[in-house]
């Protein structure tokens, strides 16, 4: 059977077999039909759902908007959501929510009544995967941004940098930053980035946080962040541009120094903002706030003129420390860098102590300007650890209890009074204490330890300015530790995912072989059933064919997952033998099946092009590229496939007239699990493995692979360039020339 005989195919059976949930409703929004996948996705049995209003599968908060939208659609025939997929939460029978992708279409029944078909696709796994990838990427971007933020000395520059980073590295659709003006108590808009130039509404440039009715006013007043995913149906965000630009989430963050509101950051995205991502952006906001505060202080000091030199020195110190911290993503290393970065410029010696879960202190890093004495610091902490109850109370505990820095000058007689015994006194004198500042270290709003800066008796003692600097250093250190911890947990999540994928895909192989085997047996046994040609026989044949397609898909997916686990490990196994690329490409196109084959325009050399390649692996690459080109092109759009021979190399090219690739994505799309924003935004299926695997194969074969595109919507070309190494040349194998027997 080469085409579907519409009079014979039972579309009801087909609907039931679909993996996506399908719900049909009438124009009164009553459910008329639900397929089997609805129960798998949401737990509702078809008979429970039929007769109910369509909105029962929606969270209650979206129902009013849904009903209004549906009513408008019934009346006017114009629906905002018709024809384009949208991500929404759906409500399962047990009240929990699922991430789904909703597609709506209108059909007419045989009597001409209008019906609305909803197709719901489960996105929960995709969302989970996107989450861990996004977090890791954003953390890296945060780290890179830290150094940039801290070298901006002017509040406007800080906010411009923040805006650039969020638009470029965090995929923000629209960023706006506002700064507090202490004189007037107003918030003034400083930057607007992303699609702001396309947004029609002209925002006010000053708002009064005391009376502003929207979320921003609330955030300014409460100094607490606001995050909202799924703006559809929220009256606060019911603005034309939100719908037109496909804005899905909003995040509004207060930029705080301690309790002081320095400004506000507003972040709109076309994708959901996961909690972890919001946390990372919050983190970047905190970095920006610290930089804003710096800029403010530096400006103040500058204004005082007399402080200009000191301001510069302080700024240089902070910038140096920041640069050190920004480069580290390992918590232990981060702490060590903190200690090393401040000695000797700011302290003669420095100790970082962290609170253990039991409340005792653990010295995690120490540095002395005289490197030989660093071991004496460790000895001091080991033999005379700061005790919770000591009299007088140890400066570390004073600082932790007060939640504020402790700053004091220490004389030799103070040391004598505090030393427990003669050895203790000798150690303290050897290290040298003239003045010190102990600052509590806070990470994620919680005291996690303290950092002690000490100057020897021969050096100018710490002054009030130094306390400000020390506090700033501690704040940065806390943020850096946070950053490192977040990064580590994201890394662990990724490792866990990779291990899970490796195990899961391997374990899936055996049951899949069993399923495939039985399917083949079934197919053989029913190959020529007695009832062939009858409706029953054809339906059985259709089911078996569908089953086979499902198994094929599953098998490809499992093989892709196995492949992706081998990426970069060199474990991708190759079987090199002479391969004719021309025949291979022709076969791959033949395998596409009659419908898709017709869309491929082939341009192949008349003679074979032979190299020492791996036929199965190369087929995988060729199939992947042609498959992608067909997938991302308009329906019935043609795809050009060619093989051309150069003197040393062979090029295989696939060009399409599809959705294209933005210039900054031409490399990114080759990363595992990464998909170009226009591919995911337009909801093309796929998990972003094919190109990563293909490039790995091509590179292992000694070739190169890249993409070219004039931009989004302007088609793309994928090029594979392979060497025809002489080992693969069959004429070389029987050559008797010396030097050919390699």
């Amino acid at each position: 059977m080469t085409s579907i005989d519409r009079t014979r195919v039972d579309f009801g059976l087909l609907l039931e077999a679909m993996p996506d949930a399908v719900i049909v409703a009438d124009m009164d929004s009553r459910v008329l039909y639900a397929n089997a996948a609805v129960e798998r996705l949401l737990g509702w049995r078809a008979d429970e759902l039929v007769g109910q209003p369509l909105h029962v599968i929606q969270p209650e908060r979206l129902r009013v908007a849904h009903d209004a939208g549906f009513g408008r659609y019934v009346e006017t025939g114009v629906g905002r959501l018709m024809g384009s997929p949208i991500r929404l939460p759906a409500r399962a029978r047990d009240g929990t929510e699922r991430d789904i992708e909703l597609n709506l279409a209108e059909i007419r029944d045989p009597t001409g009544h209008r019906l609305v078909v909803s197709v719901l696709r489960d996105l929960s796994e995709r969302v989970e995967l996107e989450r861990s990838v996004a977090v890791l990427r954003y953390l890296k971007a945060t780290t890179a941004a830290a150094a940039r933020l801290w070298t901006r000395l002017d509040p406007t520059l800080v906010l411009q940098t923040l805006t650039e980073v969020l638009v470029e590295d965090f995929d923000a659709a629209l960023i706006r930053t506002w700064i507090s003006e202490p004189e007037t108590g107003m918030l003034r808009m400083v930057t607007s980035g992303g699609l702001s130039n396309r947004v029609a509404d002209s925002p006010r440039h000053h708002i009064d946080p005391a009376t502003h009715p929207y979320k921003m006013g609330l955030v300014a007043r409460t100094k607490r962040p606001f995050l909202k995913n799924g703006l559809f149906g929220d009256p606060q965000f019911d603005q034309a541009w939100v719908a037109q630009e496909g804005i899905q989430a909003a995040l509004c963050l207060p930029l705080l120094a301690g309790d002081e509101l320095l400004g506000i950051l507003v972040f709109f995205a076309r994708h959901p903002i996961f909690d972890e991502v919001a946390e990372t952006i919050g983190h970047l906001g905190a970095l920006a706030a610290a930089a804003l505060k710096d800029a403010e202080l530096v400006a103040q000091e500058r204004e005082a003129r007399s402080g200009a030199d000191r301001a510069r020195a302080r700024f240089e110190l902070l910038a140096g420390v920041s640069e050190q911290l920004a480069g580290s993503l390992n918590p232990a290393e981060t702490v060590e860098r903190i200690a090393e970065a401040v000695v000797p410029a700011f302290a003669d010696w420095c100790v970082v102590d962290l609170l253990s879960s039991g409340g005792s202190l653990e010295t995690v890093a120490s540095a002395h300007r005289d490197a030989d004495k660093t071991s004496a610091i460790r000895q001091l902490r080991l033999r005379y650890p700061p005790l919770v109850r000591a009299s007088p109370q140890h400066a570390i505990y004073q600082a932790l209890e007060a939640g504020a820095p402790v700053w004091e000058n220490v004389s030799d007689s103070d040391l004598e009074a505090r030393a427990v015994d003669a050895d203790h006194l000798a150690l303290l004198r050897e290290l040298g204490i003239g003045s010190h500042i102990v600052v509590p270290l806070a990470a994620r709003g919680r005291a996690v330890g303290a950092i002690s800066f000490v100057r020897g008796p021969e050096r100018e003692p710490y002054d009030a300015d130094a306390v400000v600097t020390a506090t700033d250093l501690a704040r940065r250190s806390g943020l850096a530790i946070d950053n490192a911890e977040l990064y580590r947990s994201a890394q662990q999540a990724i490792q866990l995912r990779d291990r899970f994928l490796a195990v899961a895909s391997h374990e899936l192989r055996t049951p899949l072989s069993v399923v495939r085997g039985h399917w083949e047996l079934l197919q053989r046994r029913l190959g020529s059933p007695a009832n062939a040609g009858t409706p029953d026989g054809d339906r059985t044949a259709t089911s078996i064919r569908r089953l086979g397609q499902g198994i094929d898909q599953l098998q490809r997916l499992v093989e892709d997952l196995l492949d992706v686990n081998r990426l970069g490990t060199g474990k991708t196994h190759l079987e090199r033998s002479p391969v004719d690329l021309v025949a291979l490409v022709r076969d791959a196109v033949e395998d596409l099946g009659p419908g898709r084959k017709g869309r491929v325009r082939l341009e192949l050399p008349a003679l074979p092009v032979i190299g020492a390649w791996d036929a199965a692996r190369l087929t995988q690459v060729v199939g992947n590229l042609i498959g992608n080109a067909l997938k991302y092109s308009p329906a019935n759009g043609a795809v050009d496939v060619s093989v051309t021979e150069g003197p040393e190399t062979t090029q295989f090219r696939v060009s399409d007239s599809g959705i294209g690739v933005a210039p900054d994505q031409l490399e990114a799309i080759f990363e595992p699990f990464s998909r170009a924003p226009n591919a995911s935004a337009q909801h093309y299926p796929g998990i972003g493995l094919g190109l990563a695997i293909s490039r790995e194969i091509v590179e292992r074969l000694g070739g190169t692979m890249w993409a070219e595109s004039a931009g989004e919507g302007r088609g793309s070309v994928f090029i594979v360039e392979l060497n025809r190494s002489r080992t693969g040349d069959p004429t070389a194998t029987d050559s008797t020339e010396p030097g050919d027997d390699e």
Partner: protein, 117 residues
């Protein structure tokens, strides 16, 4: 008689069903040791279909035992494994089929080496 050696009972069942459907007699064994016992007891299959990674006695070990025994050395063996070809050292076998395989491949082998009853 065809001997199928695989530690995955579901795969033994599939291969057996296929071959029996096509008129071949089949005996299954769950590992190399079970297969060797059958062979030592006088079983002379026209073809042995052998998995490599199995508990107790794996496919390589069984192959070594067979090659060392003049009575068994000549029995045709086809290896079916998830391993890549390069990972199979000198097995001296009639055919190698990599998993996942198609049943057609098994059937062709059986028709090559055995006559249907």
């Amino acid at each position: 008689m065809i001997l199928v050696v695989d530690d995955e009972p579901a795969l033994v069942e599939i291969i057996s069903s296929l071959l029996e459907d096509e008129g071949h007699a089949v005996v299954g064994a769950a590992d190399g040791l079970a297969a060797l016992d059958l062979l030592r007891d006088g079983l002379r299959p026209c073809l042995t279909i052998l998995d490599l990674m199995m508990p107790r006695m794996n496919g390589w070990e069984l192959r070594d035992e067979m090659l060392a025994d003049p009575d068994l050395a000549a029995i045709p063996v086809a290896v079916v494994s998830a391993l890549a070809l390069g990972e199979m050292r000198q097995l001296q076998v009639a055919a190698v089929i990599t998993k996942p395989f198609r049943l057609e491949q098994i059937l062709q082998l059986a028709d090559l080496h055995c006559s249907r009853s």
